[in-house]
Amino acid sequence: MKEFELFFGPNHPGMHGNFSVHLRVDGDTVVKAKPVPGFLHRGFEKLMERRLWIQNLALIPRICVPEPDINEMVYAMAVEKIAGIEVPEKAHWIRTLILELGRIAAHLFSIGGIGGATGLYTFPYWATADRDSVLDIFEHISGARIYHMYIIIGGVRKDLPEGIDSLIRETMDYLESRIPEYIDLVMKNRIIQTRLRGKLVLTREMCEEMCITGVGLRATGVDYDIRKYDPYAAYEWVDFDIPVGEDGDAFTRGYLKLLEIQQSIRIIRQVLDKMPKKGPVNVKLPGNALKWRIPPGEAYAHVESSRGEYGYYVVSTGETTPYRVHVRGASYPQGLYGIEKYLPGTRIEDVPLWLGTMDVCPPEIDR
């Protein structure tokens, strides 16, 4: 059969955000794939060099819609490393809470997408509505649902509001009760099982070659998770497991996310139990925020995002603005090199599933 070219995206419904893959297909089979990013390039890194350390707070979360908090976290962490800032204990706990809430919200959004790619629309509806219950918590803590601008250099912006404890616990109980239902609705579903089980397999060697992290890697039998391997915030002080699969297929990747939500719920409950009730939530740099200067130095800070290793490389020359900030998007390797190398061989209808379960996230690739 004759090969033809198929432009997948930038507005294909199966695609996450604006991103395009130019496919060469032979029948239904992909023979060549070329990633075409850039639709969401906003020059964040350049903009950051031109803004005060504090002003970047408004900018960075916007690199990632589903999980903005990781940006605030790695930015703060890198700067704290450079400046030698000791974050107060309570802030570590609150940051952990925020990051895990963010993980739940992002995972819900992401696995909901599987429903979109397979025609199982109840799933995205449920997941989006449940994600909103997490956004309610964010709204109470930070004052905004999506872009929280809450984790700042030195700690967090404000203490938790009164009474948030019970709202979080209720929401966690609710979400926990939903997981079996998701499993019933989705994971045991014949369509899902047929479309995902044993499909789109990536082996450990492939993942290591691409330097992929996150569920993509953990679906191949390793428990690599930065929260355990390079702990930050309060992760050393809580108990949780890293769900690991062996099959390396799309199904395992999706299922691991559900299991990770369970672990996140577990972490959040421990945070609420163990967090000190009193104490400072940030340390201030001297002077007003317009005059904050970070001493010269550099640091690379990374966290385990819902999609794997998310990092910022920050260079300061002692000025009021960063000299350089480089964003390492978690899905950059799979979204570019991975697509080119491992999409060929899959079928057209599986392309969105590949991209979805591998968490290709255009805004963090484009920056």
Binding site: E209, H302, E309, G311, Y313, R324, R328, Y337
Partner: protein, 172 residues
């Protein structure tokens, strides 16, 4: 062998120009350009198999670009960022694709935003910017505000704000 010991061993073999520890498990090591590949390969064989990313920094006052290869070792749980500086005029550097294939796109990214050529990496066409017509934009001498003013014109924002206080009943 902890990270400190490893670095001192590296120093025996390579011309290390500088080293800086953020903490015992996170370090930056500067090395001369022509030994970078050997050092990367050696580190990879020791378990620094994970290339987080490659960064480029424009040290315009020194007329140099700095390439920073961020490596992570899951076993020893430590980070080494290997750095090297190259001249900013006609910047060239050999690719590391044979060591880390995934570097292909990082190098292309740096080529697009800083203008560094990576010899041996054949695909260097622009990835993110369409119809780009100026110097590589992450260079320090590129002024985005000036560019956008010239390209898109100055937007006149002289709005008589006070006239636009919305009166009761207009909304809600």
């Amino acid at each position: 062998m902890n990270l400190k010991e490893l670095i001192s061993e590296l120093k025996n073999k390579y011309r290390v120009l500088d080293e800086k520890f953020n903490d015992p498990n996170h370090t930056f090591v500067s090395i001369v350009p022509d030994q970078l590949h050997a050092a990367l390969g050696e580190l990879k064989s020791y378990g620094w198999k994970h290339l987080s990313t490659i960064s480029c920094v424009d040290w315009i006052d020194d007329n140099e670009f700095e390439l920073v290869y961020h490596l992570w070792n899951w076993d020893s749980r430590s980070q080494i960022s290997l750095k090297t500086r190259i001249s900013r005029s006609n910047p060239h550097f050999p690719t590391i694709m044979h060591i880390f294939p995934t570097a292909k796109y990082y190098e292309r990214d740096i080529h697009e935003f800083f203008g560094v050529e990576f010899d041996g990496n054949s695909e260097m066409e622009p990835l993110f910017l369409e119809f780009w017509d100026d110097i590589p934009p992450m260079r320090k001498d590129f002024d985005p505000l000036k560019y956008s003013r010239e390209k898109f014109g100055e937007r006149d924002y002289k709005v008589p704000f006070a006239d636009f206080i919305v009166e009761e009943g207009d909304q809600k």
